[in-house]
């Protein structure tokens, strides 16, 4: 008949005892219990056992702390084994590795794409207060506001709508421009340098708003300043890449204010250089030219409102100005009114005709978003 020693003390011993010594210690104690049970009594054996366990609770018998021997050699060993393992199943490892890389790349590129699409036109400091005025005629939404006599409008008359708008309260700035990238203007011009060289240019921004354009849009100046770069008609501001294209990589050393370019039979003097327009902008250009008569039948018109004005109020002000500028539009059933397109929504949310750049589509963002989620789950 086997009498088991008191369970609690048995477990206690097992708990504190160093595994190396446990076998011999617990063995000895249980042998003692057996003998004592036979010699004296169960009670005596149990009592002795308890005492024995307590007496064994000394540092000699305790579980030893795991002192870290040097980690370096063991780590090297793990690495060695790991490498051997990989080499042992070479094909699988390569496949797996390539898969990982591809997966990561997909996630990375998708995220970059989504980020890029969402940050269009955000870099302008007042982006939330900037709107483009668009016109609805028949059932079509137009991004370009027409001049009163289209192609034959004089330089003064081209500014009529703008001047009308400026009479309203709450409109901090109104500017307009057109671009060679627009289907409403000519796409290409020959440019002649002062030394006679002939180049082509297809990335021009024409504006008759002068310096005010820099109050609405934040294009940073490297050379020259926003206050006077486009002060007078006939001045040009180049982007850095245009400066390099026309004047070489060392354009900084040359004094560009003395330089001029000839376009479309007119001479334009250079008055400033700005940073290249970032990719995440709905409008792109290499030169801004202040030209009193825009070579097109209309213009992209932008308004910057004061923060206090609501969108509704802005629309009312703009519409009022439009109808006083074009009284016949009021009775025309085909004229469906004006709309305000927020600057930041142009890239992803525009249904207008004559956009300057192909707009993006939110459904692509959802698609890539799903790819990212799916990929990261299956990596």
């Amino acid at each position: 008949m086997k009498k088991y020693p008191p369970k609690f003390w048995q477990r206690f011993l097992k708990w504190f005892c160093d595994p190396e010594l446990y076998e011999e210690i617990s063995g000895d104690l249980e042998e003692a219990v057996e003998e004592r049970y036979h010699e004296k009594s169960e009670a005596y054996a149990k009592k002795k056992y308890r005492l024995d366990v307590i007496k064994f609770f000394k540092p000699y018998a305790w579980k030893k702390l795991h002192i870290e021997r040097q980690q370096a050699p063991l780590l090297q060993n793990y690495l060695k084994i790991g490498v051997r393992n990989i080499l042992k199943h070479r094909n699988y490892s390569i496949l797996n590795g390539v898969g990982l890389v591809l997966g990561l790349t997909c996630i990375f590129l998708s995220l970059l794409f989504i980020r890029n699409e969402l940050r269009y036109d955000q870099f302008h400091s007042n982006a939330d207060d900037i709107y483009r005025i668009q016109r609805v005629y028949r059932s079509q939404n137009y991004a370009v506001m027409p001049f009163q006599d289209y192609w034959s409008t004089t330089a003064e008359d081209q500014l009529n709508f703008i001047n009308e708008l400026k009479k309203s309260q709450g409109l901090k700035n109104v500017v307009q421009f057109n671009s060679t990238n627009s289907p409403t203007a000519l796409p290409l011009y020959y440019v002649y340098k002062s030394d006679g060289k002939k180049l082509t240019e297809d990335n021009i921004l024409w504006t008759n708003s002068g310096n005010e354009i820099f109050e609405v849009f934040d294009w940073e100046f490297i050379y020259g300043s926003a206050e006077n770069a486009l002060l007078i008609p006939g001045s040009i501001v180049l982007t850095e890449s245009a400066a390099m294209k026309y004047f070489g990589a060392d354009w900084k050393k040359k004094d560009l204010t003395n330089e001029y370019l000839v376009l479309d039979s007119a001479e334009y003097s250079i008055n400033g250089v700005i940073n290249n327009v970032p990719e995440y902008s709905h409008v792109d250009f290499d030169l801004i030219i202040n030209r009193s008569q825009i070579p097109s039948w209309g213009n992209y018109t932008y308004v910057k409102k004061t923060p206090e004005l609501s969108e509704q109020q802005l629309l009312e002000a703009v519409s009022a100005a439009y109808f006083s500028f074009r009284p016949e539009a009021k009775d025309n059933p085909l004229e469906k009114g004006l709309i305000l397109q927020p600057l930041t929504s142009i890239h992803l949310d525009s249904e207008a005709l004559y956009e300057l750049k192909t707009p993006g589509a939110p459904r692509y963002l959802w698609m890539f978003g799903l790819i990212v989620i799916y990929q990261s789950l299956y990596m």
Partner: protein
């Protein structure tokens, strides 16, 4: 020469006496038998472990029995060094004791 405590010396001698049968519990029983005094098993284990660290005895595992729940015992034996040390100890003791004729 190594200094051994009283208990250590006794246990060393017991291990030599018990010759292949020396393990924790057995040594404690033998101690009781020889000296008439109880000793706890834990004291014996501690001493044996100390002696082993000093290199006077060596151990190996072996011999599981039913009473022990199938667990093996750690059996101790003296090393050559242990034997020599015991002899030296005896020599020292005897030399001292011999200088006291009245305690012969």
């Amino acid at each position: 020469m190594i200094q051994l405590g009283n208990l250590e010396e006794t246990v060393l001698l017991l291990v030599m006496i018990m010759d292949e049968e020396a393990y924790g519990y057995a040594v404690s029983k033998e101690y009781l038998r020889q000296n008439g005094k109880d000793i706890s098993i834990s004291a014996v284990h501690t001493v044996l472990s100390r002696l082993e660290k000093k290199g006077l005895i060596q151990s190996k595992m072996g011999g599981s029995t039913e009473e022990r729940g199938g667990r093996r015992k750690r059996i101790f034996q003296t090393t050559d060094y242990g034997v020599r040390t015991a002899q030296e100890l005896k020599a020292h003791r005897t030399k001292l004791w011999n200088q006291l004729p009245q305690l012969q």
